[in-house]
Symmetry: D2
Subunit: 382 residues, 4 copies
Amino acid sequence: MNPLEEALAIKDRIVEWRRDFHMHPELKYEEERTSGIVEEHLREWGYRVKRVGTGLIADIGDGERTIALRADMDALPIQEENEVPYRSRIPGKMHACGHDAHTAMLLGAASIISDHIDEFHGRVRLIFQPAEEGGNGAVRMIEGGALHGVDAIFGLHVWADLPSGIIGIRDGPLLAGAGIFRGRIIGKGGHGASPHQTVDPIPVAAETVLALQTIVSRNVPPIETGVVSVTSINAGKAFNVIPVEVEMKGTVRFFKDEIGALIRRRMEEIFDGITRAHGASYELSIEELTPPTVNDPKMSAFARRVAEKYNLRYGDVEPTMGAEDFAFYLQRVPGAFLTLGIYNEEKGIIYPHHHPRFDVDEDVLPIGTAMEVALAREFLRG
Amino acid sequence: MNPLEEALAIKDRIVEWRRDFHMHPELKYEEERTSGIVEEHLREWGYRVKRVGTGLIADIGDGERTIALRADMDALPIQEENEVPYRSRIPGKMHACGHDAHTAMLLGAASIISDHIDEFHGRVRLIFQPAEEGGNGAVRMIEGGALHGVDAIFGLHVWADLPSGIIGIRDGPLLAGAGIFRGRIIGKGGHGASPHQTVDPIPVAAETVLALQTIVSRNVPPIETGVVSVTSINAGKAFNVIPVEVEMKGTVRFFKDEIGALIRRRMEEIFDGITRAHGASYELSIEELTPPTVNDPKMSAFARRVAEKYNLRYGDVEPTMGAEDFAFYLQRVPGAFLTLGIYNEEKGIIYPHHHPRFDVDEDVLPIGTAMEVALAREFLRG
Amino acid sequence: MNPLEEALAIKDRIVEWRRDFHMHPELKYEEERTSGIVEEHLREWGYRVKRVGTGLIADIGDGERTIALRADMDALPIQEENEVPYRSRIPGKMHACGHDAHTAMLLGAASIISDHIDEFHGRVRLIFQPAEEGGNGAVRMIEGGALHGVDAIFGLHVWADLPSGIIGIRDGPLLAGAGIFRGRIIGKGGHGASPHQTVDPIPVAAETVLALQTIVSRNVPPIETGVVSVTSINAGKAFNVIPVEVEMKGTVRFFKDEIGALIRRRMEEIFDGITRAHGASYELSIEELTPPTVNDPKMSAFARRVAEKYNLRYGDVEPTMGAEDFAFYLQRVPGAFLTLGIYNEEKGIIYPHHHPRFDVDEDVLPIGTAMEVALAREFLRG
Amino acid sequence: MNPLEEALAIKDRIVEWRRDFHMHPELKYEEERTSGIVEEHLREWGYRVKRVGTGLIADIGDGERTIALRADMDALPIQEENEVPYRSRIPGKMHACGHDAHTAMLLGAASIISDHIDEFHGRVRLIFQPAEEGGNGAVRMIEGGALHGVDAIFGLHVWADLPSGIIGIRDGPLLAGAGIFRGRIIGKGGHGASPHQTVDPIPVAAETVLALQTIVSRNVPPIETGVVSVTSINAGKAFNVIPVEVEMKGTVRFFKDEIGALIRRRMEEIFDGITRAHGASYELSIEELTPPTVNDPKMSAFARRVAEKYNLRYGDVEPTMGAEDFAFYLQRVPGAFLTLGIYNEEKGIIYPHHHPRFDVDEDVLPIGTAMEVALAREFLRG
């Protein structure tokens, strides 16, 4: 069995699925229709399916080893601006990150694997998860048992920064860890003409914003990566009333957990020290949403060998500061998150992820399916 | 005629007027009821009355010289918290700055002057103005002719920072000049994880806020007075979107016009330089609302002599950073703005102006009336 | 006896003394020659003289009350640039603040008082002190008993900001309180390419400098006066070594002790908080050199009456941020520090104090002498 | 011929050379003794030697292709603290960065290559350069013709961050580009009590230091590397004199030239904007000392194959922010800069480069020699 030939043979079905999902986007944790369609096919093809909310854990085959393949199914609250026949039919919702393609490709792989199950010497687990976009659906799937007995896991993401058809494989950190924070600098309000009777929180917040810059400029090692962005600062409404407090929000990014911890510690120290300096107080909550997505070098090396063996074009891919909840799987099980290039100027597929004109070069879909089939086959070869 | 005896003789009426006004507060430029009552009395007492909106210009007597006396009539959008029989009957409105007392005292003076008009060797002009609170009603009155032919002007303000019954008289600046500003720091928005693709306006605004501190700490001469308060700073709502711009508001205060000009020039330079430093741009509008209220030393000396002569207790009074539109009259005509102490611990009259429990020690009302009558009588004595 | 007539009669001698002192300037605590000449005259005229180092305490007359008059004798380490016959003969030293005139005027007064001692109904004490310039000679004189039994004290300073011949008299603060500080921000040094292995003290010092600006801009009441100047900041020498620490120096100024205390407290809080925010530590010493020079309003009123009575021209004088150790006398005994205008464009006497071309309009010398004589005579009149 | 066997056979000589150089360290551009010894050997072994100052360009063999191997010879102005028989005999000078080992290893390679010249099918060029430490000796050598006709170049640096004996090989940037800057913020000096009469350059410098932090925190892309360190800030000496100017020094680091250019542009904009904001002016000179040391991926891949073939242990090595003038060779000719691990806890060889107790595990010397021989042999194999 040649995975790419098999995938090309069912390309029309994969494209059809993708377009159907694209026309019917569903936001995080609302993936009823999508998961219903997927489940129906999987059961038909002999998969043992377990539901976890709107997510699915589907097993086929048996043996000592288990490989998991994962796709995400949720769409985004974006109004599509593409003029294509398969344009989103739901106002204000759009598959602008390619999860429609991910689901369709894995569905194609499911079909091929089912057809050739005796060539897979172990168990294949497919994870169709909800809510990758801001919902950490991966965590729910893990709680639902998605990684139980799993020896390795792979995910595949269409990638606007790679030329169409290239599989991007990277060792180590690929996507950033992300946290959000909310801070309050609490002073004492009063009249704008009498600052001495207040603890004016606005200069204190200004000093805090500037002190936060030193985390990246002075504390994060230069060869490591960190981002601290204050994205929102709000205080006061009137022209002559010094407000009681300033509210700040923002995001932090990092590729290593220890850098994330360093950033959190430094933020706490800075809020503490600067407010003390001025007789103000503070509240600060920093919530880690997603850890960094870190590929196991053995697993990315394995993926390169698989691509080599099956004549699938591959290359390196740059890390980016975006975050992915696939990171949660990789915290627990060896694996790799791969990317699949879709950038195609000729076809006008040039828009970044989350853009209202984002689209996927559908010629890559069989390549993604083939890679998934090939990874499973080789991994279970032992 | 002894002004204080005359005033004490009609104390009950003055108190009654004040309480009536207190129970029926009217916000700026809505002083219909108040001005209607005042006008009715003035006409009855023989004054020649001219209406300027809800304001009144009322003349009596004739001669070479004219002295103007001014009261303001507007209330504030504050919910009264005093439990007194004359408590405000209008929810959310309150005479929390004593303009009810100012109007009542001048009405008392009007009555006495009218009764003894042959002892006044010139013309007395009474100005009952609207909208002192944030409305610059004085400017409308001046435009309406209030200062036409006027040789000197006096105003009297009840004063919570002086002991009850003392007339506070100061040479030079008594109240501050005030301006408001509105600034925008305009950068380039983007994703919080990709600051390098943005011009993040938040650190630029932080630097601007701190640079603005140096106007007072470095540029205003230490023995002069200046205030620059950023009272509002607003930018962004989301956790991971760097906003396009930061909006700032605030107030400036000063006792001399050249300090006001210095502050404005420095603000412009700071917004310009700091935004240039970061490839951002800015908008800044600084509006001077009110000039400093500066007493003519000859007029304050005159007021001291009058108080001395008529056995009215007086003393010095500290300048404050508040602003008063009486300043506009003093820009054009010599005069003085006097204060009348109302602070009385025994009576529980201890709350500052604009406080929901602000009240006036009514025993001072005849003193204010007497001082006004005396100022007019002495000034017109020639 | 008319003090001004008496003084004019000995004008030549006063000028001669002043020129002699001017040609032979002596720095702080080195006033051997000057005090020697003064002492010789005083003894000759019948004064009871006590030496305190290079200072002199000289009494004459007796009675229930004692008035002290003070002059300072020290010069400055400045190279004179005036081309006058009485130019300083000591290279690098100059009477650039008028203490030569102060000494000469008081010597003139001493002579007149001695001549007419029966018109002074009490004791006159003359204090000729060393080291006003940075030496707090006043403190040594006080420790030496200069204020023992003194009921009132007056000092007189020639004043470049007043027109020649005018005596400037002010109630309350005339000269500032002054302190100096020395701060160290202690981080952890290292290589400039590896900031993450250091605690870089330079950004911490930068934040501290900016936070210090908020003391004056936010904490000192706008109608009060305060100055906090970081005048020196030093750290590091190499291009690629992050230094261990930053050293800062500076001065603070204020007109009221409570403002001085506020500044000190805020400085301590700022150094503490900002260094904590960055894991650095600090040392800060703030030394109060001189308290504010605050005139007793009764004593300045007395001085005005004296000037009025003896037809000496007087007026108001603006406070300045300079400091004077006369403040130490005024902390302990009622009194006033008066100024004597010397500004005279026609004569080219236009340079500020401490300028290499500073000079004194010698026509004012008898006026100063006369005022001193008159103060003593009137004070002792009872 | 087996390079490692050959190298082990002459290990004693290599160690002897290294110890001799170690005992006689010479600072940059003073490498007379060292280069003399090297030259003598090279001539003896048949090399065609050209002198460039204290540097040597030595060729052997002939053919279509030329490979260059480079060692640096200079020592550091550091006082050695090791207690070893071969301790530096020159007070205040020390081979604290291993250039003694580099020279000895390449001399060993020279000897082996000479012995087996017929196995090298092309020309081998050895570059013994002066002044790697802060002298950019590489530039002089290039100007002297060192790269004329060279097809590839390799350098080898002993490396305290790698376990002893491992050859560290990296694709792309290994060492940082480095620049130094010198800035002056020029205000207007004056008395510390009169800031309003000055343009106080110290708060302006403080704002500049903080604004510079935003280059790394906001402008450099998070996945790229940049350092901007202000390492020196100096202004003022007195407690009460606001100085005219602040002088700053520092270093910048980067792995890509475009990041270096970005940093320079942003620094210029920041000095310009911040000084404009305060009516100050500035001077800023930024000098690029060394470009980033960037290995050609084909050449590092070649080095890996060579190590593999000759059974020399190799691995990856982390980039560091240090700078190396080998970068100048790599700007012009393909090549790679390799590292050779020397960290050995058992032997107490644990101190970082430039430390007074830095030392080299001499057991690695034949490995370095072997790698150099092997690189030349394989490269010239064609």
